[in-house]
């Protein structure tokens, strides 16, 4: 089992004056990680809007529809600002390329943004309710994809801390998205209807925490960038805030203050997770050992004698 072998040992390795082998992601902060958060928020909010509609949670459905539209619109705005040439955002839709998660993601986001905007507009104006309902139903498909495709987006790179984590990152992002949307639902809906949002937040917080732990454990030494420096600080903060917020949601009871605290902690935790993942990717690209040592071991392992 190659996976059980230590990936990055203490051993010496050679490099070109310690220079990085690969280029670090150049995506800006706060644009990129905030987009990851908003995409998750929008995607799960849509899913909540669909199910809340079916189950008669009208206020929650309304909140979720608006959150989904705002999340997608703001996220798309951040992406446009992230591009060196924002006026060419539409260029993303000139082709559909299955080999590019960013191309696939652009179409998912365009669908999610358009549908959720229709759903929210219909909700707010009362115009064309059937169209609004159809749109929100369709976001039941685009929503979960919006919340998780971003994990493929970062994993489909040569950045070792991202690529090697491609199994866990979607669940980390999904958990984080559930916690985000649950938190907002909790904060913005009357208590009587917020029960399901609280449950979404709690399960999401658990999923986010568990997949983060599993990811770091399975990566072993290759997961070091998630534990060191700024990324380590962000990931630890994320875990404390998410786990704390999730537990608090479970015991908040009728207290408005506790509910608010829990919602804010979950939101901060989800943001920390996204900023932490970006920071870990940068750190893992900057140090040549994360690139060279596993590849060298792979080569030497295959070479008999």
């Amino acid at each position: 089992m190659t996976r059980e072998r230590s990936m990055v040992p203490e051993a010496e390795f050679r490099s070109y004056y310690g220079r990085p082998v690969i280029k670090a992601p150049i995506w800006h902060e706060p644009h990129m990680p905030t987009y990851l958060y908003l995409g998750g928020l929008s995607g799960v909010s849509s899913m909540m809007a669909v199910v809340a509609g079916f189950t008669g949670h009208h206020r929650l459905a309304r909140t979720a529809r608006i959150a989904a539209a705002l999340g997608a619109a703001t996220g798309a705005g951040l992406l446009a600002a992230e591009l060196g040439r924002p006026e060419r955002f539409l260029n993303m839709l000139r082709v559909f390329k299955p080999t590019s998660p960013m191309s696939v993601g652009s179409w998912i986001l365009a669908a999610q943004g358009g549908l959720s905007a229709v759903a929210a507009s219909s909700e707010l104006t009362g115009i064309l309710p059937v169209v609004g309902d159809a749109a929100v139903l369709a976001t039941g498909v685009t929503g979960p994809l919006t919340a998780t495709y971003t994990a493929v987006l970062v994993a489909d790179t040569a950045v070792p801390a991202w690529h090697e984590a491609y199994r866990e990152l979607p669940f980390l992002f999904a958990g984080s998205a559930l916690a985000s949307a649950g938190a907002l639902g909790m904060l913005a809906t009357p208590r009587a209807e917020a029960g399901p949002a609280r449950a979404v937040a709690m399960i999401g917080a658990a999923m986010e925490t568990v997949s983060g732990v599993v990811m770091e454990r399975r990566l072993g030494p290759a997961g070091e960038p998630y534990r060191l420096g700024r990324a380590g600080y962000l990931m630890r903060s994320a875990r404390a805030l998410t786990a704390g917020g999730g537990l608090l949601a479970a015991v908040a009871g009728r207290s408005r203050t506790l509910t608010a605290l829990s919602g804010l902690a979950l939101t901060a935790g989800a943001l920390c997770t996204r900023f932490g993942v970006l920071a870990a990717g940068r750190a893992s690209a900057a140090d040549p050992k994360y690139t060279v040592v596993p590849q060298r071991q792979r080569l030497d392992g295959e070479r008999p004698g």
Partner: protein, 274 residues
């Protein structure tokens, strides 16, 4: 499509003159990188980037060699190597580009169309060799084109033209591979067992490089990855894991609302409108 063209960079005859860097800059009208002294070697550009499409690495080494009379002696040597975009058979930059700005030319090379590039920067961390980069103040991604414009005019790329020692050779890839094998055998016969080819095999993680190298030490010594793999090789698996996560999102939301499905379709019809 015409014959696949490529570079064979024989580092054993590189003299570190940087004529290739300069010729590339001049022909392609690339901006300077700032005047930096790295203080580690004679290398003042450091790495390939948006405005450095050929980069000469300088590696100073002291090694023990057996001299005449069976005495071991420490000998200093310089390794010099002109690095360039590998024009991979399976190019990660081309795969992940969301706009189709990167394309495969009729010469089998990989080129960015500057009028289409969006500046999304996805190709930058996708490249397993750290070649392509986004230029500050321009916002678009740039890299070696293997002088696409010169090739279309029947000329060889500027770097190969300028190389005084034929360290950089340009030609049909098949022919270059044969030439490289001959050169390798010759070096081995001359008592240079450390000589090895890098990037020439179509069986490697990127399907073979359109620009390959003869090296005198391990690739990582030159700042090259020892076993690069095109990241999109795992893409189907990545989508499956993301799909499972997406389904779990739907599942979690359904579970969270379980027990309150009584409203059903009728509830939904009024769902959006109180």
């Amino acid at each position: 499509m015409t014959e696949r063209m490529g570079f064979f960079t024989d580092t054993s005859v590189c003299i570190g003159c940087k004529a290739c860097e300069v010729a590339c800059k001049e022909w392609n009208q690339l901006p300077d990188d700032g005047f930096v002294f790295e203080a580690t070697s004679y290398d003042n550009t450091g790495q390939l980037g948006a405005s450095t499409w050929r980069h000469v690495a300088f590696i100073e080494q002291t090694r023990t060699v057996r001299m005449k009379g069976d005495e071991d002696a420490g000998v200093d040597r310089w390794l010099m190597s002109s690095d360039v975009c590998k024009h991979c058979t399976h190019a990660a930059c081309l795969d992940v580009c969301p706009t189709g700005a990167l394309f495969r030319t009729e010469f089998g090379t990989v080129v960015v169309q500057e009028d289409i590039c969006n500046g999304c920067g996805y190709c930058v961390p996708a490249c397993p060799f750290g070649v392509i980069d986004r230029r500050e103040g321009d916002g678009r991604a740039w890299k070696c084109t293997m002088c696409y414009d010169r090739q279309r005019g029947g000329l060889e790329p500027a770097c190969a033209k300028a190389c005084p020692t034929d360290s950089i050779q340009f030609g049909p890839l098949d022919e270059l591979r044969e030439r490289a094998e001959d050169r390798l055998e010759r070096l081995h016969a001359d008592g240079r067992p450390e000589a090895r080819l890098y990037g020439e095999s179509p069986d490697d993680g990127v399907g073979g490089a359109g620009a390959f190298f003869l090296l005198l030490d391990e690739p990582e010594v030159y700042g090259l990855p020892p076993d690069p793999v095109v990241t999109t090789r795992d893409l189907p698996s990545m989508w499956r894991w993301a799909g499972a996560a997406a389904l779990s999102v739907a599942g979690v939301v359904a579970v969270a609302f379980s027990g309150s499905f009584a409203g059903g379709i009728a509830g939904f019809r009024n769902g959006g409108r109180r």
